[in-house]
Symmetry: C3
Subunit: 268 residues, 3 copies
């Protein structure tokens, strides 16, 4: 693990910072995962606020610690809110995360995702392999399923990161995160993560929270990924299926110590 550009100690320190500072995370996200995302943020120690209307989103992005924009279920009014939030985040230098759900698979949202990237310089772009490829211009998969491993789009992700001076985080069995210069992989997590809706979406929200408390976006993205997947490893023990697993995951997000995270996170 010595070749990782991010150390486990940095991830542990980021978790301490998250819990000490309780960052306010504005989420403009899809209608499937609002409740789950808020509960993940609260369990981890952040404060969620789903201000997603056009009238308030820009103002709020100026006071939030971090902003998540997730394109899972866009509608014209919520897209207007996203545009306002991105503009507000840019003006206030608030870090923000883009989750381009199903980019590449559906033309309308793919264009919106690209427009937001061009307008606002995201801090982190998070998706599965097909979404990252789709955003970058390749063909997308069906819906939100990933059909490729993160490493299959490593170069695409690195190019996308360099082109936008941001971190690109690709989710999979082994997560791949890159800022175009440094690339880190995380190998925690459990198969049941794919049987609970919105886990990936909540990972984007956690990244926005961590980006509000640490300076290096790659550390922020890695810390969010490490927290969620190590908590998942723990939650899977004793769970009987996706229902009890999801409930235990919230418990573990709240109880996981920074020391245990440092010890269990598998960086490379």
């Amino acid at each position: 693990m010595n070749d990782s550009p991010i150390t486990a100690a940095q991830v542990g320190e980021a978790l301490d910072a998250l819990r000490n500072e309780g960052p306010l995370v504005q989420c403009l996200t899809n209608i499937v995962v609002t409740n789950w995302t808020a509960n993940v943020l609260l369990a981890a120690g952040a404060a969620p606020a789903m201000v997603d209307n056009e009238q308030e989103a820009g103002l709020f992005a100026g006071v939030a610690s971090g902003v998540l924009v997730n394109l899972g279920t866009p509608q014209e009014n919520t897209v207007a809110g996203m545009r306002a939030a991105v503009a507000g985040a840019k003006d206030a230098s608030t870090p923000w995360v883009l989750d381009p759900v199903a980019a590449g698979g559906l033309p309308w949202r793919t264009e919106i995702a690209r427009e937001l990237v061009a307008a606002g310089a995201p801090t982190i772009i998070r998706g599965n392999a097909s979404e990252i490829a789709g955003l970058a211009g390749g063909a997308g998969g069906r819906g939100v399923d990933s059909t490729d491993t993160p490493d299959a789009v490593r170069e695409v992700a690195q190019d996308l990161a360099r082109a936008n001076s941001c971190v690109v985080a690709v989710s999979g069995a082994v997560d791949l995160l890159t800022d175009g210069r440094r690339t880190v992989r995380l190998a925690n997590g459990h198969e049941w993560l794919t049987r609970v809706t919105g886990v990936g979406c909540s990972l984007g929200a956690l990244m926005a929270g961590f980006a509000g408390v640490v300076d290096d976006p790659l550390v922020a993205a890695a810390s969010a990924t490490g927290l969620l997947t190590v908590a998942a490893d723990q939650a899977a023990q004793g769970a009987q299926g996706p229902g009890t697993f999801a409930v235990a995951l919230l418990d573990r997000l709240a109880s996981l110590s920074a020391d245990d995270l440092v010890e269990q996170v598998r960086l490379s």
Copy 2:
């Protein structure tokens, strides 16, 4: 049980098909149950996608395995999405399920439900007795509560099925499903199903999933009903109330074997 037009073996085979094929189920559903519905589909082995905007819903209905349209919380923009999805499903011959929540009780949505039926020939219509009566023209109950047993609207359901060449599935303590020619009843399920929101809505989503993997819509509707209610029978064992019951239901949807389903489903 020998007089049932659907055999337990057919239900078991349908569950195997669902898990093997993992159908992509597009849900245009109400804001109360999106998360629950997605988790039910994932637990059972299907892949949810809540593409509900007017811009994308029609395109997506062309690639989805099945589509659910649920009228629980209609708004003008989501109704526009429903119209697009129904048109797309019709063009692509994608099976789709209509859940006319509170039909008969509220004039606006009742008209929308009838318009969608006329426009798109649903594969399955699913509701409680008052909703089926309301859609067909009778008086509806208050909100989403059923005030009649399914058998009280048996003839209405059979007429509705024949008039639209579809399956009509009426939920209750004993579920009644008919294609106008064949009628099947299922007697599984637990009282706590009425204490968890969205169980009926998620049943509609499961029907859309099964309709994507089996040819006979009556088998699809019966298999979805059997899976959910037998899993509920199991989940109720050891649960302490509606909270633990709902969590256990997700676990059981994932773990229930086809053999156990065949053995425990109560068809007549």
Copy 3:
């Protein structure tokens, strides 16, 4: 406890009434908490219905037992629904509850909250200290967090109650409820209530349910608060974190007896 203007016996009788009558509670609430709120109402014994569109909200408010208007994630179309619901509730004398989420912190929704109060005479206004202060004209806190204890805004709450002939319920470690003449405090509840999203929002929905079955709005507000916080006290026993706590809370809302509520509620 003898100096409380509300007796524990009244709270217990209100719970019996809620379970016997099963009031229909119309919720126009935010997209984060719809599912949780419906499950809380069902567990407690009420019947939720989230009719929130402009076309139906007014009509439905005429038949509902109580109405909740929660400003957590307002959009133009849902605000139009709120206006219709408030007008319908006023016409039909249906009790309704306003939850002015983040009032004082965000100008647009603060104006909407004040407009609704002026238009419709709410039965109960429920919020944390900063929201009550913000609605009344003081400066609001960040997002939905409370930065003051309820007693810090006691006079503001009493003035607001008198000015609008309503009950004002301020949530905190010790809840403060007043109709401007009588003031009651409730000291139950657990710290984990702040780690589960939407608990406060669901409290507003419970108040709307109780207001539909008891005549005195202060008893209704106190009964909802007592039920939720005593159930929380019980749920915290044996829970491992916010995930298992939330699930147990639903179980306890269903199983808590009126006798146990009378015995355990801490009124003063």
